[in-house]
């Protein structure tokens, strides 16, 4: 074989042996700028295939053409770790006959590697590749940095197709996924729109309430007893979480603390912390902005890791198991500390766990940061609409109106109280918010399951019902 290059996506689909009823997979590093999933699904539809199961690490609004394929029964099943509102809303209205399977960023590669969710053909969107399929996300006009979520797909799918818009001579140096896993390579004009792939910069919040919460969050970490040399940390890309990282950086520099690693989806703020000496390295499963992409390309301390290495519960060990602190978000949290990040307060799907429950399970301190209420809806409820992460894995909720500690973590409660931080009972926080907003009426629950939330170990955690 001289080369694995084929002329078109259609030819690759045909050569892969894909048939009706089979499973295809995609990864989401190109986020809302991704062209690959739509291009592939269009060819699959044009070839007349039906009853395809799509296993995607995440689905974004850019993927709404999928609705057409669902309507035409080209796609009849979906597994994803995160689904944004554009697809989530119609799914909540019941467009699919079979419930969507929600997994986590750790549970997905775990289930793939254990053979629970076999993949027939994996499609890898590669910002740079050579004709034999060595590929990388660090280079090219569509550079996205890490390709962490694609490793399990490449390693375990029966056939692997690499799709690139930057074909380079063999051998590509500094590859991420190597040719021994790859069957076919396709060159296209563009795999994505760079504007949607990574943000120019991710911004910390200017919202005063967000800043207050971020300040409290940094103080909680400071008082937790975990902030010492060797400290490890993960935070999301939300405005308040980034502000918390920025305040935490100030504390670490002031106290001269050198942490070990920053983990997860990496933003420029964590890169700044690396440069400032707050961490020895960054372990990166996905880059969120240009600064992170630039860093992973040029700085050997900034390392790409696979989703299995990041968070798989069936790996021999995963980075989340060594994590000290993670800052996470929530659309709802209940008085038992169960967190919902799958649906909005009206019950429509607009998110997913991603690494939420993986990092909450692994980290020594799992912190939720959320305002007391959003648009008149209290964040703390008696029971969340959907359990995305079980309350047993959540240690503390930080709001602008006080800090609620999970009663199981008595040590943390004592430490925060001793530091003079405003610790309150979570039920008190709920009442406080309801005094301001009024008590919302409960929504009627639908009678049809539209999605299953599968915990990282493969067990069913909760079921999401349709919205009436």
């Amino acid at each position: 074989m001289d080369t694995k290059l084929v002329k078109s996506i259609r030819e690759a689909v045909q050569l892969s042996g894909l048939k009706s009823g089979m499973t295809v997979s995609f990864h989401h590093h190109l986020r809302n700028g991704d062209f690959v999933l739509n291009m592939v699904m269009e060819e699959i539809a044009a070839l007349g295939l039906k009853d395809i199961f799509v296993n995607a690490s995440s689905l974004f609004d850019v993927h709404t053409p999928m609705l057409q394929h669902i309507e035409n029964h080209v796609v009849t099943g979906i597994s994803a770790d995160y689904i944004s509102g554009g697809l989530g809303r119609p799914i909540s209205q019941g467009i699919l006959d079979k419930p969507v399977q929600f997994r986590t960023h750790g549970g997905r590669p775990s289930d793939i590697s254990l053979g629970r969710t076999p993949i027939d053909v994996a499609f890898i969107a590669a910002p740079t590749a050579d004709p034999m399929g060595n590929c990388s996300g660090k280079y090219g006009k569509s550079a996205c940095g890490s390709l962490g979520y694609a490793f399990a797909d490449a390693m375990y799918a029966k056939k692997v197709v690499v799709i690139t818009d930057n074909l380079v001579e063999y051998p590509l140096q500094d590859f991420s996924i190597s040719e021994d896993y790859v069957d076919f390579v396709v060159q296209v004009d563009a795999i994505g729109n760079p504007k949607g792939i990574v943000s120019g910069t991710t911004q910390i919040t200017r919202d005063p309430v967000g800043l207050v919460m971020a300040d409290l969050a940094a103080k909680v970490i400071d008082a937790s007893g975990l902030l010492k040399d060797g400290f490890s940390f993960q935070t999301g890309a939300g405005g308040a979480s980034l502000a918390a990282a920025s305040f935490l950086k100030d504390i670490m520099l002031k106290k001269g603390i050198q942490g070990s690693f920053g983990l997860g989806g990496i933003t420029g703020y964590l890169v700044d912390m690396l440069h400032a000496g707050c961490f020895r390295s960054l372990l990166d499963v996905q880059c969120f902005d240009l600064k992170a992409v630039e860093s992973i390309r040029t700085d050997p301390r900034h390392q790409e890791i696979s989703a299995m290495h990041y968070a798989s519960p069936s790996s021999r060990s995963a980075a989340v198991d060594s994590l000290d602190v993670v800052i996470l978000g929530a659309t709802e949290i209940d008085t038992d500390f169960n967190v919902n990040v799958h649906t909005d307060s009206n019950g429509y799907i607009m998110g997913g766990s991603g690494g939420h429950s993986d990092t909450a399970a692994g980290a020594k301190l799992a912190m939720i940061i959320a305002p007391m209420f959003r648009a008149r809806l209290p964040i703390v409820t008696d029971r969340v609409t959907c359990i995305s992460t079980p309350g047993r894995d959540i240690d503390v909720l930080v709001t602008q109106g006080g800090i609620a500690v999970n009663p199981k973590n008595t040590e943390l409660m004592q430490r925060l109280a001793a530091a003079g931080l405003p610790v309150v009972d979570i039920r008190e926080l709920k009442e406080k918010a309801e005094r301001i907003t009024g008590k919302p009426s409960r929504l009627p629950k639908g009678d049809r399951a539209v999605a299953e939330v599968i915990y990282r170990d493969g067990t069913l955690l909760d079921t999401i019902y349709n919205v009436k």
Partner: protein, 89 residues
């Protein structure tokens, strides 16, 4: 005191509410759109009617576009719109 002219108050920003009021021959007509319709729709309509009653407005058409405003904000915006509609502002 009756509504004599079309008036509006509030904004479309988050946590605010936009209220338009106009003269009507008989009775109150309240049209409500809200991001929290399911949870608070009924409560909001009751609030709107109560404030209008307190302002002595018996006949008016009111359009309310709510962006998750708290009750005290809704009360303020409806009262402002009513005062403006009565030419008292």
């Amino acid at each position: 005191m009756e509504i004599t002219k079309c008036a509006a108050a509030g904004t479309m920003e988050s946590s605010d509410v936009y209220v338009e009021i106009e003269p009507r021959e008989t009775g109150l007509e309240v049209e409500l759109q809200s991001v929290v319709q399911a949870q608070f729709g009924q409560a909001i309509e009751e609030t709107v009617r109560q404030v209008l009653k307190d302002c002595g407005v018996e006949n008016a058409k009111v359009r309310v576009v709510d962006r998750g405003a708290l009750e005290c904000v809704i009360r303020a915006r409806v009262e402002t719109a009513a005062m403006r509609g009565k030419g008292e502002a």
